[in-house]
């Protein structure tokens, strides 16, 4: 448990046997800032381009932890120790235990316990995770290659059926954010499995009972159709292996039955019963999505399997049994949201912090038997707050079918192996660079080592359980690394590299422009595209490149151009576009000598340009604030850029992301804040990390900010619509290959990248430094 402060309300949700505590804290962490120097009258050539500083920033984080009820006092001690805000008078509690432990809590904490309705909280929590966490939902398939089939978030999450299997079973139909109805329930639930199981097998613990069950043969205890019929009941098409009567064979006093067999029979009996009732309710209400939750399910493959089987059987495949990665926290999340209601939680979005969250199966005794016995807490989730709600990029053709990631590593074992190894091999280098990025810090080495260890452990977890954090993708691997770096106060390990490269590239800008201008139109078009691609070679994230860059510091733009395999082609034929939206990739040569000449050409043709850069740092990707400075410098040298900025033909926006990849699903709806929201960035909520939010006061790029200020109230989505964006350029491996390779947009799009990874090049049928140049025109 991180030693965080607890300034807000803290809200335990007390379930039957586990106490879930949700608390809100502000987390202090370091963020890297860049600030433009005042260069008036100074020799620009010998000064660094801008100042880098690391500052403390405070962001909001939601923590969810679990305690066994027996640890309730420890839990309360924990709350008490962390309850620093004396203004807190009320603690929100839900679950049956809220009634049971009310007095204890009030006495111990001196706070008034506000009991919140269990189901209201559960559903609030459920809506919350369904909306905010991609890959929250999965179907379970035991006998397929990937047990966990993660579902793409559908923009419309309603209506659905929520079947909560705690001690008993509650079946709730949820129709909208505020409208839900308890439509039924059953007393045969987790408590029945546990209680009856304990009586039958003398095994006390729920997990142990499940383990027994997974080893048993129910056919020794159950009467099957074939025991009655001798085979199948053919007239009804009932297979001989179906259970005709649960425990039908134990109707004798003189036979012993094994614990395992009885536990298994009990498990089948209860799962089938719940599945059947759920299907009957789903049918009555005409619903085809059923989410299962409660401690009976809670990531246990055994019960997910039997429930899935039951739903398939009773619905004849028409209804799908779905599970939630974070279902154990729903009540606590809901209770928290209830408490935060005056805060209007809908104005925020939240993202899972991979560094602080344990994975899906971490509670399973099979996977980590030690983890449970070690302490009262054994599973946690952390979510970071993003200050604004998110919407889809309006240019996506079909947001409901859009999947950002190109390869699903949960599915593709070979690719998974490769990438995990790739990230493992790169890890030492990343750790070294992180340490080197803070030469003045005494504990940088130590923190870098901690980072290395943490990320290494995450990678090992993912090797064992690729499904631990939802669908495993190159993007999630990259993001997890960023989260871990942030966790150990390495907000921007590449800041100095970027600073230097930006400085060097700026010096070449004018000569590159001059040489481009000397070419005739056709040659120039090719040169521009080639420049775009060559610039994209400069990617510290790619091991092949960082090796070259480390060993050949003189490696430049021309050398990069010569390394390129194949040719680009021009897309600037035909009438000019109205507005182009460009997602930039790397700092330095990439943005300055690759992207900007291209931007300039577009501007000269009368095309407006929206240049979107990451809000927070990731590798050597150019950040929004860096792009402001760089643009300012270029504008000082280049009249085309200068006037475009002045006339608002060139707009700089932030993506809201701190990932080298890009998820077009979540785009900021409203501006971030007064000053810096030059145009309400977009954001992908789950990639959002602690360093994403740039403070309003941080920027000192007055000129540019002023230019952008007229757009304050407009969201990027609005901007894109308003400017009638008809061309989207997505640059870089992370944004155009690992993600969005298959994205279909409603306007013309260009995805370009240089393949800086020989394995991937091989897979795509090319060589290293091959070029991906994917130009798509939507069919009318």
């Amino acid at each position: 448990i991180p030693p965080d402060s607890l300034p807000g309300v803290s809200l335990p949700s007390l379930g039957g046997s586990l106490t879930k505590l949700a608390y809100y804290s502000t987390v202090q962490h370091k963020v890297a800032r860049v600030r433009s120097f005042d260069h008036s009258g100074k020799d620009i050539d010998n000064e660094p381009l801008y100042e880098i500083s690391v500052q403390e920033e405070i962001t909001a984080r939601l923590h969810f932890i679990k305690f066994e009820n027996t640890y309730i006092e420890t839990c309360l001690d924990f709350i008490k120790d962390h309850l620093v805000n004396t203004e807190t008078k009320v603690i929100k509690a839900t679950g049956g235990g809220a009634y049971k432990f009310k007095d204890l809590i009030e006495k111990k904490l001196g706070l008034k316990v506000d009991k919140e309705d269990v189901m209201t909280c559960l559903i609030k929590g459920c809506n919350f995770v369904l909306r905010n966490i991609p890959h929250e939902v999965f179907a379970y398939q035991k006998d397929s290659d990937t047990e966990f089939r993660f579902q793409t978030n559908h923009p419309n999450i309603f209506p659905y059926l929520l079947v909560n299997i705690g001690s008993g079973v509650s079946i709730v139909k949820v129709e909208s954010e505020d409208k839900f109805e308890w439509i039924g329930g059953s007393s045969i639930g987790g408590g029945t499995f546990w209680g009856l199981g304990a009586l039958l097998t003398k095994t006390k613990k729920f997990d142990e009972l499940l383990q027994l069950a997974s080893k048993g043969q129910h056919t020794n205890v159950d009467m099957l159709v074939k025991d009655v019929y001798g085979g199948a009941y053919q007239t009804l098409g009932l297979s001989g292996n179906l259970i005709a009567s649960s425990f039908g064979k134990s109707t004798t006093a003189d036979k012993e039955f094994s614990k395992e067999d009885m536990a298994k029979s009990l498990l089948h009996m209860i799962s089938n019963d719940i599945g059947q009732l759920a299907c009957l309710h789903a049918k009555l209400h005409n619903l085809d999505k059923i989410y299962f939750g409660g401690f009976f399910i809670r990531g246990h493959p055994v019960t997910m399997r039997t429930i899935t089987y039951s739903i398939n059987f009773f619905s004849k495949g028409e209804v799908q049994a779905l599970f939630l990665r974070h279902e154990g926290y729903l009540g606590a999340i809901g209770a928290f949201l209830k408490g935060a209601e005056q805060d209007n939680p809908n104005q925020y979005s939240w993202g899972e912090n991979y560094a602080g969250s344990s994975g899906l199966m971490s509670t399973s005794p099979d996977v980590s038997p030690l983890q449970r016995t070690r302490s009262g807490t054994f599973d946690m989730l952390e979510m970071d707050r993003l200050e604004r709600p998110l919407v889809n990029l309006p240019l996506l053709k079909d947001p409901s079918t859009y999947i950002p990631d190109t390869v699903d590593l949960t599915d593709d074992a070979m690719a998974r192996k490769y990438w995990l190894t790739c990230f493992e091999e790169a890890l030492d280098g990343v750790a070294k660079r992180a340490a080197a990025s803070q030469p003045d810090s005494v504990d940088a080495q130590e923190r870098a080592e901690k980072f290395r260890q943490k990320y290494w452990n995450k990678l090992q977890t993912l090797r064992q359980q690729p499904f631990a954090y939802g669908t495993l993708t190159v993007r999630s691997l990259l993001d997890t690394r960023e989260h871990c770096l942030n966790e150990f106060s390495f907000p921007d390990p590449y800041s100095k590299v970027k600073q230097k490269e930006n400085g060097i590239a700026l010096k070449c800008f004018q000569s590159v422009i001059e040489s481009l201008d000397s070419l005739d139109w056709e040659e120039r078009q090719f040169a521009l595209v080639k420049g775009l691609l060559a610039g994209n070679v400069f990617d510290w994230g790619a091991k092949a490149v960082s090796d070259v860059l480390e060993s050949e510091p003189q490696f430049g733009f021309e050398e990069a151009k010569s390394k390129l395999q194949g040719k680009g082609r021009s897309l600037l034929e035909g009438p000019p576009h109205k507005c182009a939206l460009i997602f930039a990739d790397n700092s330095g040569i990439d943005i300055i000598l690759g992207v900007f000449p291209f931007v300039r050409e577009l501007l000269s043709r009368g095309t407006e340009v929206i240049l979107a850069c990451n809000s927070g740092p990731a590798l050597n990707d150019v950040t929004y604030s860096e792009s402001l400075i760089v643009t300012e410098r270029i504008a000082a040298m280049d009249p085309v850029i200068h006037s475009a900025l002045r006339d608002e033909k060139l707009l700089l926006v932030q993506t809201g992301s701190s990932s080298p990849c890009l998820d077009l699903r979540y785009v900021g709806k409203a501006p971030l804040c007064g000053l810096c929201a030059s145009a309400a960035g977009w954001s992908e909520v789950w990639l959002w990390s602690v360093a994403v939010l740039w403070p309003c006061s941080g920027h000192a790029v007055a000129a540019l900010t002023a230019l952008c200020c007229s757009r304050l109230d407009q969201g990027l989505a609005v901007l894109v619509r308003e400017r009638q964006t008809d061309l989207v350029v997505i640059e870089g491996m992370g944004r155009a290959i690992h993600t969005n390779y298959y994205a279909v947009l409603r306007c013309e799009s260009l995805k370009l990248a240089v393949i800086k990874n020989s394995w991937l090049a091989d897979r795509l049928g090319g060589k290293i430094f091959s070029v991906i140049f994917k130009y798509e025109v939507p069919c009318k």
């Binding site: 039957g16 046997s17 049956g96 009634y99 309705d117 189901m119 705690g166 001690s167 008993g168 308890w182 039924g184 329930g185 059953s186 007393s187 045969i188 639930g189 987790g190 408590g191 029945t192 546990w194 209680g195 009856l196 304990a198 009586l199 039958l200 006390k204 205890v221 159950d222 009467m223 159709v225 025991d227 009655v228 019929y229 001798g230 085979g231 009941y233 007239t235 009804l236 259970i243 005709a244 009567s245 649960s246 425990f247 039908g248 064979k249 134990s250 109707t251 004798t252 006093a253 009885m262 009996m269 089938n272 019963d273 059947q276 009732l277 009957l280 309710h281 049918k283 009555l284 009773f314």
Partner: protein
């Protein structure tokens, strides 16, 4: 709904055996008349005892047949496990033109081999009759009947038989009384009473047959029905769990224990969790929130009696059946639910609970009905299957 090719077949067989001319066929339909329903736990046998045997007939009657009749009608128990439910006997019934009494006999399915053996010893096969049987055992024991008993079973579908049996018995009544009944004021323990119900216009009805397992049928007319669903949590589950939990060895014993137990010590009620009613969802405090939920706690496990456990098992299974039946009734838009099956034999607790639960949770929309001959309808249907073909 389902044509029974078997009945026509058996008819031909009987004609061949008896070589009887059509006009007098019915009077001379070969005896004995049996209907057999071989379930997972119990075998149900109905036997028609002709009371209008003429002296002439009596003389012609083979010794075997006579001895079978005597054996069945003069005893109320057969071996250590066979029992004749004398109180269910239907007297002065006219069936296929013959007058007689219908007897209801049951024995455990695991004694089936002994039964076949007995049939073989009594040279049943020499009677040149064919035995009509339904239930899973008709399939399972077919080969045994053939090899051990030299008997060819005529297998009839159990659901066809069940419905046929229900409709028939209800139509003839129970010795002048109503076969069908319900509980008035099921929600009031004091005023609750059993009252006859007129099932003259039975359709549509939901038929819930609770044997070892449970089958639920929606019946729209005498030959239009469908199996809606079923559950494996049935009488066998109650009895099986009771054996494991209490060490009892008979269904009667299990029920007796249950009648003296207190399930609220075993189950976690809504009020145990919420301190009272759960108003948000309109759940009363007395409702069971988690069956056996209190047994998660070691202390409580040690403080409950076998009787409490038996009671809780009974309540759990019964409530669950009620719940599934109610959902099916809603889905099928049927408001009369008829519960049959041997789980309900001498089981007033379950019947009242079903009546109560259906009434309470449907806010009076659904009515639970019961039939006096509980588990014998399949066997009756099998007997009718034999005679129908004539």
């Amino acid at each position: 709904m389902r044509a029974s090719p078997c009945s026509t077949l058996i008819c031909l067989q009987i004609r061949n055996f008896t070589k009887i001319q059509d006009p007098v066929f019915q009077r001379n339909f070969v005896f004995p008349w049996f209907g057999l329903d071989i379930g997972g736990t119990l075998v149900k046998l109905v036997y028609f005892e002709p009371k209008d045997i003429t002296a002439e007939e009596e003389e012609e009657e083979v010794e075997n047949l006579k001895s079978i009749r005597k054996y069945l009608t003069s005893n109320v128990a057969y071996g250590s496990t066979g029992i004749r439910d004398v109180h269910l006997e239907l007297r002065d019934l006219t069936l296929c033109g013959r007058k007689g009494n219908l007897h209801f006999i049951r024995f455990p399915t695991h004694d089936m081999p002994a039964f076949i053996q007995m049939g073989s010893e009594k040279h049943f096969s020499s009677l040149h009759t064919t035995l009509c049987a339904t239930g899973g055992g008709a399939y399972k024991f077919e080969q045994d009947f053939r090899t051990m008993g030299d008997l060819e079973l005529c297998k009839l579908d159990e659901l066809d038989c069940l419905i046929k049996g229900v409709l028939y018995i209800d139509s003839v009544g129970f010795n002048g009384h109503s076969e069908c009944y319900y509980f008035e004021n099921p929600t009031d323990a004091e005023r609750c009473q059993k009252l006859p119900f007129n099932l003259e216009n039975p359709y549509p009805l939901l038929l819930v047959n609770i044997g070892s397992g449970v089958s639920i049928l929606a019946v729209y007319s005498k030959d239009n029905y469908k199996r809606v669903t079923g559950t494996s949590l049935g009488g066998g589950t109650f009895f099986g769990l009771c054996c494991l939990l209490t060490g009892c060895s008979t269904f009667e014993e299990a029920l007796e224990m249950a009648s003296h137990g207190d399930s609220t010590k075993v189950d976690k009620l809504v009020r145990d969790i919420y301190g009272g009613d759960y108003e948000r969802f309109g759940l009363p405090g007395w409702a069971v929130a988690s069956s056996f939920g209190n047994m998660m706690s070691k202390e409580k496990r040690e403080s409950v009696s076998k009787e409490d456990l038996a009671r809780a098992t009974l309540i759990t299974i019964t409530n669950n059946i009620g719940s599934i039946a109610r959902m099916c009734a809603l889905n099928e838009n049927i408001n009369r639910v008829v519960f049959v099956g041997n789980f309900l034999r001498i089981n007033t607790i379950s019947m009242r609970l079903l009546a109560y639960a259906l009434d309470y949770w449907s806010k009076g929309q659904l009515k639970a009905l019961f039939l006096e001959h509980e588990g014998y309808f399949g066997a009756v249907g099998a007997l009718l299957g034999l005679l129908d073909s004539a």
